[in-house]
């Protein structure tokens, strides 16, 4: 066994533990946005898609890299955008309520 494999496995296990610790404290209200956020983070596979594109030199390699880039790009951009949309709903309300109140005040 080479040391780099041991290092990688150590990083993997420690990251798992960090994930358990960070996530077990999230309140239930945020579970859906959290699932979506975690979903966008695994879009980091786009880095892998880029790296295989860099070593591709034949039609099969190019095709695989292309499809992987499409998939991963969708995962990353779509994931972050939809999470942002969900979270904005939790945030926007005070501002919206205020503007509604001033509108009503103006009318009456």
């Amino acid at each position: 066994m080479d040391t780099s494999l041991i290092t990688d496995v150590s990083i993997f296990v420690l990251s798992l533990l960090v994930g358990f610790e960070v996530i077990s404290k999230v309140p239930q209200t945020l579970h859906t946005p959290l699932m979506s956020a975690a979903n966008s983070i695994h879009g980091v596979v786009i880095v892998g898609a880029f790296l295989i594109a860099s070593t591709a030199h034949d039609a099969v390699g190019y095709t695989l890299a292309f499809v992987a880039a499409v998939f991963a790009g969708m995962n990353v951009v779509g994931g972050y955008t939809v999470t942002d949309r969900m979270l904005k709903m939790f945030q926007r309300r005070p501002a919206a309520a205020r503007s509604e109140a001033t509108e009503n005040g103006g009318k009456s």
Partner: protein
Amino acid sequence: MGTFNDVIALIYLASATCFVIGLHLMNAPPTANHGNRLSALGMAVAVGATLALIAHDGTISTTGWLMLAVGGVLGSGLGLYLARTVEMTAMPQLVSLFNAVGGGAAALVAIADFIRLAGILHAPTIAARISVTSVLDVVIGAVTLSGSVVAAGKLQGFIPSEPIVVPSGRIVNLVLALALCAGTGYILSGANSDVTLIGIAVAALIMGVIMVLPIGGADMPVVISLLNAFTGTAVAMAGFVINSVGLIIAGALVGASGSILTKLMADAMNRSILNIVAGGFGTGDTASVIGAGATGQVRSVGADDVAIQLAYAQKVIIVPGYGLAAAHAQYAVKELADLLEKRGVEVSYAIHPVAGRMPGHMNVLLAEAEVPYQQLKTMEEINPEFPRADVALVIGANDVTNPAARRPGNAVSGMPILDVDKAKSIIVIKRSMGHGYAGIDNELYNDPKTGMFFADAQAGLRAIVAAVKTLVGVD
């Protein structure tokens, strides 16, 4: 060269830190948005560093750049469009779809790398650390891809949400599993056979479909969460394959988060993950009890009765369920709540942990309709308040209100429920006497305190709003 790679490695570490802190900031609603932004920043940094690395290495061909640019832009554009335009009710299936392509990308990374290595190294065999992780990546990624697509299809209604029993599914699964083992063994024995790896991918794709098809629609949130964890693990394996620490860290983070979330969801439904994946819940007995459902003594009420009861109540607790989401009734319920609040009625919402199709689904939907965050109460907060409520208004929720859960010996036994039956009176808006996913009668409906208002959630609420306006005359 060495220095450059060190800098890139440090940048990846920084982006991984962004992911961890980003997830941490999602602990509380006020900081959640910053958390997501920070995580997105980490992603942008990682992508930028990768582009710099590729340019610096100089091994990439012009066609490679083209594939990367066109593919990346196409995928991003598609993702952006879908994420922007999707209705919030369809959001769970979109997350499932994004999860599917993530898993697919992870599998493709391993396949592409394996084919490249198999092509270059004619004599020497591919190192075990690469072949083992490649096979794991391909299997997990492919199962996730097809499984998530089926899950999304079930939620969208392309595929019937009822559990679909695959003819001799167990045998097919067994054959596929044996084929997988044989293929894996062949690759690990040192054969650089890319055809075998692709065969493994195809077998795993079929397994994903067979795994999700027999699972009912109610369990889809748990399944999506489980598949999300799968993708994380697949991405971590891809990190081993292409030797990228960034992928390992981020993948493991998601693998852990998905597992925790899956367990929380399964616990809230009082079910084990194994039980759900085995697909036992409500599969066999649904058909046999449907006839008996309508025979119990049920009091049916109309919109006018409901309007009067609500308008003269002091405290109303609204219990939303999947029926509310399916009927897009979140705006209608907000309108009714506003109307009642103007009359001085105290309104709050009781959110069961598994109401809707994902944990927190109801919160997101109601937040979309701009229901104040403070009015949304968790099960623990609201249960002591039910005895003080004049009316509990149940909209499209079923199993989570069934008092039968307090007794042992039935499909919902032991599931934590909302104590709706303790309210002074209960109104249930529901399309029919049909069963919930557990496939059993809801004893709440036979309670003398309960009035059943048979209507689609949206149409029913609009009728009640109109009735309150005409009968009681608010503004």
